[in-house]
C-alpha cells in the first residue's frame, strides 16, 4: 500500500474530507454575521477579554450539545441531560464535602452520567421505547432523585483545589474552554474517523439498513446515550466549579439550549446528519447572541425573543439552501 500514489482517485476524496463541509461553512458565516453586527453596535464586543468570555459562557452548552449531537445523529433525542447533570453534580459534591478526593469525585460524577445514559439507552435499544418518551421519563426521574437525595437543598463547601482547577486557565484560556476543546477534538475523531462514528451515522441514516449491514445497532445507540450522560456530568462539574455549590435544580432547560445548538449546527432531528464543528459553532452563536445583547443592556425577555428568532431563521436558511 504505497502512500505516494496521487493518481489514485481516492486521494481526491481524502483531501476533500479535510475541507470543512459546506453546511459548517454556512454556520460559520452565520456566526460571522452576528459578530459583525455586534461589533458595529458595540465597542466592547470585539475585544479579547469579551471573546474569551463568550467562549467560556458557551462552554457548558457546547459540552451538553456535543453529546446531544451524537444522540441526534443516531436518530434519537436526550431530554434528560439537565437532570442527569444535576444528579451527578449533587452526588459528586456531597462526596467531596465528606472528604472524597476530587479526582475520585469527578470519576463518580462521570459514572453517574454514564449510568443515567445507559439506563435511557437500554430502554430505547432493547425495550424498543421511543427516545423522546424514555428521556422525558428520565428528565423527571433523575431530577427527582437529585431533589430527594438533597432534600431540595444545595450542597455547599466544595474544596478549593477542585474549584481552582475548573476556574483556572491554560495559556490564558479558561479551563472549561480547554476541556470542551479537548472533548470536541476527541468526538470529531470518533465521529469522522472511527468505526463507532460510522455506525452512529449509519444507524441514524437508516437503522434497518445498518442492521442488515452488520452494525451493532443496540450497542451503538446505548453508547450515544452514555456519551450524552457523561458530557452532561462534565458540564455539571464545570458549573459547580464556577459556583462553588451544587444545586439539585441546576441544568433546568439545558436540553433545549443543546438541541438548539445542534440544530443550528446542522444536526437533523431525523437522524443521520450532524457535525461536531457545526454544533460548536451553534453553541457559540447562541453564546455570542446573549453576550452581545447583554452588553447592549437588552432586557432578558428580548434575549429570549432573539434566541427564538435565530433558531427559526437558521432552520429556514438550512431548508432553503439544502433544496428538497
Amino acid at each position: 500500500m504505497t502512500s505516494t500514489d496521487f493518481r489514485d482517485p481516492a486521494a481526491k476524496g481524502t483531501f476533500a474530507r479535510m475541507v470543512p463541509n459546506l453546511r459548517d461553512l454556512g454556520t460559520l458565516f452565520g456566526l460571522v454575521v452576528i459578530f459583525v453586527a455586534f461589533t458595529a453596535l458595540n465597542d466592547t464586543f470585539l475585544t479579547v477579554p469579551n471573546l474569551v468570555n463568550i467562549l467560556q459562557q458557551s462552554s457548558i452548552n457546547a459540552c451538553i450539545a456535543l453529546g446531544m449531537t451524537m444522540v441526534i445523529i443516531s436518530g434519537g433525542i436526550d431530554l434528560s441531560v439537565g437532570p442527569t447533570a444535576a444528579l451527578s453534580a449533587v452526588l459528586a459534591a456531597s462526596a467531596m464535602v465528606v472528604g472524597v478526593p476530587a479526582p475520585l469525585a469527578i470519576l463518580l460524577a462521570l459514572a453517574v452520567g454514564v449510568a443515567c445514559g445507559v439506563f435511557n439507552g437500554v430502554l430505547i435499544a432493547y425495550a424498543g421505547l421511543q427516545p423522546f418518551i424514555v428521556t422525558l421519563g428520565g428528565l423527571s426521574l433523575y431530577r427527582a432523585l437529585a431533589l430527594i437525595y438533597t432534600g431540595g437543598n444545595p450542597v455547599f463547601g466544595l474544596p478549593e483545589g477542585f474549584r481552582d482547577f475548573l476556574n483556572g486557565s491554560l495559556f490564558g484560556i479558561p479551563s472549561p474552554v480547554v476541556i470542551v476543546a479537548v472533548i470536541s477534538l476527541a468526538l470529531w475523531v470518533m465521529l469522522n474517523r472511527s468505526p463507532l462514528g460510522e455506525y452512529i451515522l449509519a444507524v441514524g441514516g437508516n437503522e434497518e439498513a445498518a442492521r442488515i449491514s452488520g452494525v451493532p445497532v443496540a450497542r451503538t445507540k446505548i453508547v450515544t446515550y452514555a456519551l450524552s450522560g457523561a458530557l452532561a456530568s462534565v458540564a455539571a462539574l464545570i458549573l459547580i466549579g464556577r459556583l462553588g455549590a451544587a444545586e439539585p435544580t441546576l441544568g433546568t432547560l439545558w436540553e433545549l439550549d443543546a438541541i438548539a445548538a445542534a440544530a443550528i449546527g446542522g444536526a437533523s432531528l431525523m437522524g443521520g446528519k450532524g457535525s461536531v464543528v457545526g454544533t460548536l459553532l451553534g453553541a457559540i452563536i447562541l453564546g455570542a447572541l446573549r453576550n452581545g445583547l447583554t452588553l447592549m443592556n437588552v432586557q432578558a425577555f428580548y434575549q429570549l425573543l432573539a434566541t427564538g428568532i435565530i433558531i427559526i431563521v437558521a432552520m429556514l436558511i438550512d431548508r432553503a439552501t439544502r433544496g428538497r
Binding site: P9, A10, T14, R17, V189, E198, G205, G214, G272
Partner: protein, 515 residues
Amino acid sequence: MPDQPSRLKLAGISKSFPGVRALDNVTFEVRPGEVHGLLGENGAGKSTLLNTLSAVFKADEGHIEIDGRPVEIRSPLEARAAGIAMIHQELQHVPHLTVAQNMFLGRPLKQASGLLVDRRGQEQRAREVLRDLDPTIDPKTPIRDLKVSQQQVVEIARALLENARVIAMDEPTSSLTPAEFDRLAVLIEQLAARGVSIIYVSHKMDEVFRVCDRATILRDGKFVDTVNMADMNEASIVARMVGREIVHQTHTSHERSDALLEVSDLGREKAVQGATFTLRRGEVLGISGLVGSGRTELLRLIAGIDRPTSGSIRVSGRSLPLHDPRAAIRAGIGLVPEDRKGHGIIRERSVAANMALPSMGRFSRYGLVSHRQRHRVAMKVMEDLRLRPLDVTRPIGKFSGGNQQKAIIGRWIAAGTEILLFDEPTRGIDVGAKSEIYALIERLAQEGKAIVVVSSEMLEIMRVSDRVMVMREGRLVATLERDQISEAAIAAHAIPQSQRSVHDASRPDRQDIIQ
C-alpha cells in the same frame, strides 16, 4: 380504431432540470378506450411525463389537449378535475381510514347541513363503484386490512368516482402476484371497454404485451416511437428502449462442490415453516412463489435479521448462532434486500461508507478508519462492477437504482461474503442494468460463491437459477432441478388450490407471450 380523435394529447412537451433535459419535444397521444403503454429505461422520462400530465411540475414547452381542446392544468387537483387520474407505484392513502373515507378523501360527501360528513352516503357510493370492480371489498374496512391488490382496486374505484377518463398506472404490478396481475388485466380490459383510456407504465414486457394496445417508447427524454403491440415482439421493443440489441444470454451452469449452507427445519411462526435445504458453492438457487409466501422472511431468518422459532443453520458444517446479523456476516452470509431504499442504502452516506459498513474491522487500524484504504477498495469494486459515476465520495442516494443495487452487492464483495442472498435483485431496475446484474450473479457463482435469488419474475428465476425451490404459504413445497424448471411447473406449485382456477384460465395466452 385508426382515425379516432385522441382522448389525450401531450404535444411537444419539453422539460429541463438543472443540467438535465428530462423531456425533449415529446408528443404522446392516447385514444379513447385504449390501453397505451409508456415504455423506456429508468431515466428515459416516463415519470417526468406523467408528472407533467398531473401538473406536479410545469412543462417548459408544449401543451396538453383533452378531446382535441387545449387545456391548462396547473395543479394535481386540476388534473383530477380534468379527468386524469394517477395511480402511483406506492399507493397513496391513509392506512387507518376506511375504504370509503379514502375514496372521498379531500372532497367528502356532506350531509344536508353542509357541516358533517355523510358517511353512509359515502359508503353507499363507494359500494356502487366497487361492485363492478371487486364486490368483496367492504367500504367500511380500514384500508390497511386489504391486500395490496385490493388497495389498488380502491384507487381505481376512486378514479372512476371522479369520472376519470384517463387513468395512468405507474408500475401497478410491482407488488402483485401473477394471479392478481391477471385480475388487474381483466379489470383494465373492462375499463377500456367502458371508454376509459389507460396509460400503463411497466418494466415487465410480458405484462405490457398482455394489456396494451399500443405503446409509446421514450429514450433519454426523447420520443422514439409509438407502436401497435400486435406488430411487435419483446426484442424489437427492448431494442427501441435501449437503442441497441440486447443479447439475451441464457443460463450457464457452474461446477458445484461441497455444501456451504445447510438450513434445517428453519421456521418463524406461520410465515416460514420447516424450511430445509442445502446450498453448494457455485450454485444459484432460485426461490419462487407468490408475494407473501414467506420468501423474504426465509432470507431474513438466514441472515439473522429476524428470530426463528425453530430450526438451525450450519455454514461449512459449523452451527450458526441464530438472530444475530453480525454472526451471520462473520460466517460469510450477506443479504441484498428487496426494499433498496428502506433496507439497503444509507442515502446521505458515500458509496465508500455504504460499502465498507459490514467490514469496518478490515478498514480500521488502531481503532481508526483508514479512509484511504476504504476508498481504494470501494474504487476497485466500483470499477469492477462498472458503477457510474465513478465517485466513491458521492452520496449513494444520488445514484440510479441500478447503480445503488450494484453498490449494495459491492458491499458484500468488499466484505468477502461467500453466501449471497438476493431478494428481488432487479426490482425497479431498468433493462440494461438488469442484464448486468444477471451477469454479475452468474460471475459470482463462477467464482465459487453460493447464491440464493428470490424473485417474483418468472423470467428472472429461469434466467439465473441452477435449481428452483417453490414456496407456498410458508413452506418449501417443491424443488425443481435445472431440466424441470418451467413457468408452468413453478406456477403449479406456487399457487394455492383456492386461487388456481383464476390463474389457469389466463394461462394459455401468457405462455404465448413469454414463449
